[in-house]
Subunit: 274 residues, 2 copies
């Protein structure tokens, strides 16, 4: 039986980090329509409590469902680690976080079974990544570190090699993990791939960086193909972007990040009544 | 005629920065009851748009009014610069920002009429401080600089001398102002006095730091005394704290900052329906 489903895929994050998943989804599922929501009016999520993260996640998902999405990608490490287990079964469509694909990839990648993990305060505090890694590789040694300043630094565009601020912060956060001799580092927040060059430089050659957003995009493609949820269209998909603060600041940063001009396609919305 | 008014004074900020005003209010008005609101569920405000800041400010004030305050202190530079002119006349009680008292103090303090100004993106973008300074001192030279990473750094407790991250960021932000030979620096965001030692060290001796929260507390005391709004009570005032994210993290940081244990007196509330 072949089924088709022309509804869009919904993706959300607290800010622009989730675009790391969107960019990869555009590559692996070029004909799918995508709806992106960035909760820029309340970014960042990573220092907030579990209860607040769950509340915001429900509002984000409600918004996407009102736009008729067939699947929701939580392109946010903080929500995936803190809210997914609670809210997963509340919806009629699949809700997919960024953890599983990243953990599978990390476990496949590591040779010495020493895995580094970085994320927001809330993500690291949850212990969710460690539990998933140990389920797949019980003898793995996991070295984790909360990096609370990375999201503000990324959202302020402090991502370039040679910027002494980001390099100083990165060295402080990563040195303890580097010293443990990990060969794999999970970037447990979808903002972090924007720091790819910095993180690679700080960790040194030979350490593989795992991007949960990109890994998840690939696994979403496999999943919807398997379950007959792919679109029947053969033309390129269309993309819509929604944010909860002004569109212009997001348009500028997101255009640079997606390497395509999205000016005029971003709309500001209000989630708080959802 | 002597009038009395036993209602509490309301104070709000996006996070814990507004406590710089509270601490001073406790000193100058020891018998007044105070209600503090920190919108920790949506902190920081400083990178958000004017429209979003105005919306959040209205919700913050509505919350305080429902607690029967006789006066609202906007202990937040971002709200004072972006929202106060729009919302000032919407309420039956006085709504006081942190700008006027700070500007008066800066103009009195400067000898060489060269004034530095630091604040959030939104505050500096508004140009509000510069306009007020020029109104009082038309020949003042004002050198301003947005410091978008200061609030995340303060909220992460990165405030101590010797912390290379905050010292590096402070040097980057302040060097251009220092080079202009200012003798007075307005800390245009109520979080910044928590960086007092760092800022003093970076600016060098001889530069006076103006704290808008503290200056405003003094001016509020003068104002309610003049207008017969002071309490009749002679015992110490009572203090209530409300936040929009979990109470425990705020309690810890706020207790350290106020140098008094406020554990058990902080309550989490929901503003979004207001």
């Amino acid at each position: 039986m072949i089924t088709i489903d022309n509804r869009p895929i919904g993706v959300f994050d607290s800010g622009l980090g989730g675009l790391t998943a969107v960019r990869r989804l555009m590559e692996v599922l070029p004909n799918e329509d995508l709806i992106y929501l960035g909760d820029t009016g309340r970014v960042p999520y990573g220092g907030k409590s579990r209860e607040t993260i769950i509340k915001y996640a429900r509002q984000d998902i409600s918004f996407l469902l009102r736009h008729g999405v067939k699947l929701v990608v939580i392109a946010c490490g903080t929500v995936s680690t803190n809210a997914l287990d609670v809210i997963r079964d509340e919806y009629d469509v699949p809700v997919i976080g960024v953890l599983d694909a990243a953990v599978v990839s990390a476990v496949k990648t590591t040779k010495n079974k020493r895995i580094g993990l970085i994320g927001t305060e809330a993500s690291i505090r949850s212990g969710t990544y460690e539990r998933l890694i140990r389920r797949l590789m019980p003898d793995a040694a996991v070295f984790s570190k909360a990096c609370p300043l990375f999201v503000p630094l990324v959202e302020n565009g402090r991502t370039t090699v040679g910027d002494v601020v980001i390099e100083t912060v990165a060295e402080e956060y990563l040195a303890p993990i580097r010293k443990e001799g990990v060969d794999t580092l999970i970037l447990g927040c979808t903002h972090y791939p924007l720091l790819g060059s910095i993180l690679a430089k700080t960790m040194g050659g030979g350490v593989r960086l795992i991007s949960p957003g990109a890994e998840t995009a690939v696994s979403v493609a496999a999943s919807i193909t398997r379950e007959g949820l792919t679109t029947a269209r053969t033309e390129p998909g269309s993309y819509s972007y929604y944010v909860t603060d002004r569109a212009d600041g997001f348009e500028r940063l997101a255009s640079r990040f997606l390497e395509t001009d999205i000016k005029g396609t971003v709309e500001q919305v209000d989630l708080e009544s959802l």
